[in-house]
């Protein structure tokens, strides 16, 4: 019973992440650099990581990337988005697990955003075999600082409420 509830919540999180990604791709943003986004779906991964755990967060991130590719139809972007989310998930897990006494969720989220950008730039430069693409990284890092901060702040509020309701659901009955 708990397994099914868990699965339903995880699939809900995947669909929230997907909706956020689609919403984000429709939103007109001031153009800063290619690949600079709000990273709203990172919120879902971060929340999953804190409320459920590493394996679940990785699953949600991967599924979200794959379904987003199916929804938008650009296959090449799958590699960029997948590499970014897997790398950011791993780093956020390490920071959240080992260094949670030093960094709050905001710090964890910034680490995730930085790792996400680094992964994307790395894969892009590998695929294009051009190291020059790394010249985008400084400006992407600057934007990830802001987006990471707000994603972390939002996740913090969400986790505060979600954690208690999830605990109620999973441990009361």
């Amino acid at each position: 019973m708990k397994g099914i509830k868990r699965m339903i919540f995880l699939s809900l999180l995947v669909s929230i992440g997907l909706a956020l990604s689609l919403f984000e791709s429709m939103m007109p943003l001031p153009f800063i650099a290619p690949g600079a986004k709000l990273g709203l779906s990172n919120m879902v991964i971060l929340i999953t990581l804190v409320v459920f755990g590493f394996k679940e967060a990785l699953t949600v991130g991967t599924l979200k990337s794959i379904i987003f590719t199916l929804a938008t139809g650009s296959v090449t972007s799958l590699f960029y988005s997948l590499s970014g989310s897997v790398l950011s998930c791993i780093l956020m897990f390490i920071i959240n697990h080992r260094f949670s006494n030093i960094f709050s969720l905001i710090g964890v989220s910034i680490f995730g955003a930085v790792a996400h950008n680094f992964g994307q730039v790395l894969v892009a430069s590998l695929m294009m075999s051009n190291i020059r693409i790394f010249s985008y990284l400084p400006i992407l890092l600057l934007t990830s600082l802001f987006t990471g901060y707000f994603v972390g702040l939002t996740s913090k509020f969400a986790v505060k409420n979600l954690k208690s309701s999830f605990d109620n659901i999973f441990y009361s009955n």
């Binding site: 960094f103 710090g107 695929m127 020059r132 400084p138």
Partner: protein
């Protein structure tokens, strides 16, 4: 609850400093050349090399590959993409690039447009 910890502040500060420093570094790196040319690469292979010249200002160059189509416009010491068949149009939105080391990337079409600097007399092909 929503206070930043000391670690957070140090992290934010470090990233800020590192990214600003590397930003200045790439800018400085770019100003050390006097001869510039445009290098157009598809899938990592250079397919065209264009040296800036007064006579080619306003010229458009179509790039068609198995990955897609882009139309490039050469300006006065600068270059931009004006048309592309990729869904996000990020390369078109980027506008002009003019400094050595700057790149326009179109990921779906695997296109890289890069401004390179050369030491004198190293141009081996001029496209008009």
């Amino acid at each position: 609850m929503n206070k930043l910890t000391k670690g957070d502040k140090i992290l934010i500060f470090t990233i800020l400093v590192v990214s600003l420093l590397s930003l200045f570094y790439t800018k400085r790196l770019a100003t050390n050349f006097d001869e510039k040319y445009v290098s157009i690469q598809v899938d990592g292979e250079e397919i065209k090399k264009i040296v800036f010249d007064k006579s080619i200002i306003g010229k458009t160059i179509p790039i068609e590959s198995e990955y897609g189509y882009n139309l490039i416009e050469i300006g006065d010491e600068k270059v931009r993409v004006i048309e592309a068949d990729c869904p996000d149009q990020l390369d078109v939105k980027q506008g002009y690039i003019s400094r050595v080391g700057e790149v326009i990337v179109c990921l779906p079409n695997r296109l890289v447009i890069e401004i390179k600097g050369v030491a004198e007399g190293e141009v081996d092909y001029i496209s008009h």
